[in-house]
């Protein structure tokens, strides 16, 4: 019985998801290109960049610091068995730059700024502010959505750089003063084994993609929400969950196919 319902349910879900994905993609393209609209404003964009940054910066730095410290301990634990603790700096830096930096930045960004973005846009919809804008002949995609989307694309890589730096510093604090790895070796190894384009740019490219995906999902969930108080709440939850899963899935794809 349950199985008999499974197949038609799957079909129904697919039929619902595919056109939704289509509209969501159209929404993304229209919003990205809305920079050409006369109601797109650089001031709005900067305001959003600032807002996103302020909202997530402290959180990011604390998370990065702890992540770096744990990496120091964990890396030491593994390397000491092979007598290779001189490689600890490299391990910390590569883990952060290539994987943990972009992924954790994006996950935290989704939880902090993404959810706030969904809540903001969906309550604007629920209180008819978006319709009012349309009535005043101001395209909400240009005035509201585009600045937020582009801000997300710019901000996540910046936050990721900060995450990486703070994380490496945390890793250093544990490795050198606490665990007694030689400081000179720590930095020298890191410097000679981290490639600028291969590792640093790879990580930043990931962060850029994640920024786009997280802000896109957050903005779309807000824009498509049921215009009620309950709808706002639901949209916010769905936005965080979907964005987080999307980041992890996309990270796998990027790592597996592009940067091995």
């Amino acid at each position: 019985m349950a199985f008999m319902e499974f197949i038609p349910n799957l079909g129904r879900r697919t039929l619902r998801t595919v056109p939704n994905l289509g509209t969501a993609s159209r929404f993304l393209l229209l919003s990205l290109f809305a920079v050409a609209n006369r109601h797109f404003s650089i001031q709005q964009l900067l305001k959003q960049v600032y807002g996103f940054g302020v909202r997530s910066l402290l959180l990011m730095m604390v998370a990065a610091f702890f992540t770096g410290m744990v990496l120091g301990f964990q890396g030491y634990y593994a390397l000491v068995r092979f007598g290779a603790t001189s490689a600890l700096g490299t391990l910390v830096a590569l883990s952060l730059l290539r994987e943990l930096g972009p992924v954790l930045t994006a996950l935290l960004f989704a939880g902090r700024a993404g959810s706030a973005l969904t809540a903001e846009i969906s309550s604007m919809k629920a209180t008819e502010q978006l319709s009012a804008m349309e009535m005043m002949a101001v395209n909400p995609l240009a005035w509201v959505v585009a600045p937020r989307l582009w801000a997300g694309i710019f901000v996540v890589p910046i936050l990721c750089v900060i995450f990486d730096l703070v994380g490496i510093f945390g890793g250093y604090l544990i490795s050198v003063p606490v665990l007694g790895v030689d400081g000179g070796t720590f930095w020298a190894q890191m410097q000679s084994n981290v490639a600028f384009s291969g590792d640093i740019l790879t990580g930043l490219f990931k962060a850029l993609c994640f920024g786009l995906v997280v802000t896109w999902i957050a903005a779309w969930q807000g824009y498509a929400a049921q215009p009620t108080a309950e709808g706002v709440g639901n949209a916010t939850t769905i936005s965080v969950v979907t964005a987080s899963l999307a980041v992890l899935g996309l990270d796998f794809i990027l790592t597996a196919f592009l940067f091995t």
């Binding site: 209180t127 502010q129 349309e134 009535m135 005043m136 002949a137 395209n139």
Partner: protein, 274 residues
């Protein structure tokens, strides 16, 4: 009323899923008039306004505004047309992160490059007209419902539109404000040479300023005419509505899937909406 029609609807149909909201509505709104649309709650009045503003599209029928067919207009032309329209939303729809002043200034800032001093004058003039010049610095959250409505009114008219939609401008206002707003709507209409479409339940106040009225029931226009003709109408529907009688051909209830007695006592099939 032989003058040009600014807004013209022909046989407009609109449905929300299975629920038919408008079922063949036709009307002609003359340039310069104040036209009222009355009808039961949930009867599709707001929907009708949205159709005329082009924010919703009908499933069938034609809507012409200022000689342009909304269905064939492209996005840019529709937006250009909207710059000459104003709408007072039923729930104000003020921008919550802008002050009262910035709310009213928003359309001006978006569409024109004005000197700050000119802009200030224009905005304060409109706020003065709705009696809220002193509230210019407040945020929407600090306003009462009625004050919010008046700010929204100032915002709707700040661009000096040719066509203004008022969705229930009187609800939630005290009798003094109702009188003032009604006079304001009339004065504004005549001063700008604008055309106003007014949705309201307040029959007395509406009839005191309207030139013409339509009564919407069951998705159709059931009566139309000047206030005097409507009052004198012997249509049972019109009399029921204007007289506020609960019994009559206009149903008070939204159509339900089953009758009330079963709904109270019966058991629903799983997943069926109540």
């Amino acid at each position: 009323m032989a003058a040009d029609a600014l807004v013209e609807l022909e046989n407009v149909h609109f449905a929300r899923g299975p629920h038919t909201v408008l079922d063949g509505v036709g009307l002609r709104i003359t340039q310069g008039a104040i036209v009222s649309i009355m009808g039961a709650s949930g009867g599709g009045k707001t929907t009708l306004l949205n159709l005329m503003a082009g924010t919703l599209a009908p499933q069938a029928g034609r809507i012409r505004v200022a000689g342009q067919d909304l269905q064939t207009l492209n996005f840019g032309d529709l937006y250009r047309l909207r710059r000459r329209m104003g709408m007072l939303f039923q729930h104000s729809a003020l921008f919550t992160d802008f002050s009262v002043f910035e709310n009213v200034a928003f359309p001006l800032r978006r569409h024109f490059r004005l000197d700050e001093s000119v802009l200030r004058k224009l905005v304060l003039m409109k706020l003065e007209a709705v009696g809220l010049r002193g509230a210019a610095g407040l945020m929407p959250a600090e306003l009462s419902g009625g004050m919010g409505r008046r700010v929204a009114l100032a915002r709707a008219m700040v661009m000096d539109p040719m066509l203004i939609f008022y969705d229930e401008p009187f609800t939630g206002l005290d009798p003094i404000s109702v009188g003032i707003i009604a006079t304001l709507i009339r004065r504004l209409n005549d001063a700008l040479g604008a055309t106003s479409i007014l949705v309201s339940h307040d029959v007395q106040e509406t009839f005191s300023i309207a030139d013409y009225g339509y009564i919407l029931a069951g998705g159709k226009i059931i009566a139309e005419g000047t206030p005097d003709t409507l009052r004198a109408s012997d249509s049972e529907l019109a009399r029921q509505f204007l007289g506020g009688k609960p019994d009559g051909p206009v149903p008070f209830h939204y159509p339900a899937k089953d009758d009330y007695a079963t709904a109270l006592t019966g058991v629903w099939a799983a997943g069926e909406a109540i």
